[in-house]
């Protein structure tokens, strides 16, 4: 496996979807190539930064929908169902 192939496979490796044969080659290459070890570490850091730092306060947003909104939408749907459908 070349450095190029390793970098192409990083996401599947991280997801755990890389087939066994390629995973072995991937890890063999990592054991021999310091540059790819560094690249993998920096890739992981970049992904984590993208996932966490864009959040306004590192808080997950609640997916709870206000009951009043649900009731309003359902009431409108019942009152005039045809006009609500595009």
């Amino acid at each position: 496996m070349t450095c190029r192939e390793l970098i192409d496979f990083i996401m599947e490796y991280e997801d755990g979807t890389l087939p066994e044969k390629q995973r072995v080659l991937f890890e063999e290459h990592l054991s021999l190539c310091e540059d790819c070890v560094h690249y993998l570490a920096s890739y992981r850091t970049a992904v984590q930064l993208g996932k966490s730092l864009i959040m306004p306060s590192n808080e997950k947003v609640s997916t709870q929908v206000p009951e009043k909104l649900i009731r309003s939408i359902l009431a409108a749907r019942q009152a005039d169902g045809t006009s609500l459908t595009e």
């Binding site: 192939e5 930064l49 997916t63 206000p66 459908t85």
Partner: protein, 171 residues
């Protein structure tokens, strides 16, 4: 009406409060118009969340002033034998002694903003909104393989843009 969670979602993409309120209003209008197509396969919360993200991204795109980088310029380049050109030094730890957390967040946000639309939107939907690959593929009407390819490229591009700030020994 308590619209805090949806508004918070929208504010991840829109810094200007007026734009965020516009996008929230558009979210409710879109939901109202499309409620007849809500089939119950997802929760109403998830359905509204997707509409809010879409409204925010559309508003953000219309107001964008950031110049967009070429994805090819942000991907690694290789020699014919597959070795990477200019591998550079390892990344050090997060430079939080030099950059405040708020500055770091803004830096990452700016880097993401410079990605081409097709890569930025997939990075947002997969990595930040945590939609699964199939949902993103359906939402954007593309193959799941294309979602994976674009996400990997977007992540590599983000890594390239952050590289100068994290190299060991960088100022």
């Amino acid at each position: 009406m308590h619209s805090g969670p949806l508004f918070a979602t929208i504010q991840r993409y829109l810094h200007h409060e007026d734009d965020a309120w516009d996008a929230l209003q558009e979210t409710f209008l879109s939901a109202f118009r499309a409620i007849g197509r809500f089939d119950g396969r997802s929760t109403l919360a998830t359905w509204l969340h997707r509409i809010a993200v879409n409204a925010a991204v559309m508003k953000w795109r219309s107001r964008r002033r950031t110049s967009i980088r070429s994805i090819d310029d942000l991907l690694p380049s290789y020699y014919d034998d597959g070795h990477r050109r200019d591998p550079g030094p390892a990344w050090g730890s997060l430079p939080l002694d030099r950059i405040e957390v708020a500055e770091m967040r803004e830096l990452v946000r700016q880097c993401i903003a410079e990605l081409p639309d097709i890569h930025r939107e997939i990075l947002i939907l997969r990595d930040i909104e945590e939609w699964d690959t199939a949902t993103v593929a359906t939402h954007l009407d593309i193959e799941e393989g294309a979602v994976k390819t674009r996400l990997h490229r977007a992540r590599q591009a983000l890594r390239t843009m952050l590289d100068p700030y994290f190299r060991e020994g960088s100022p």
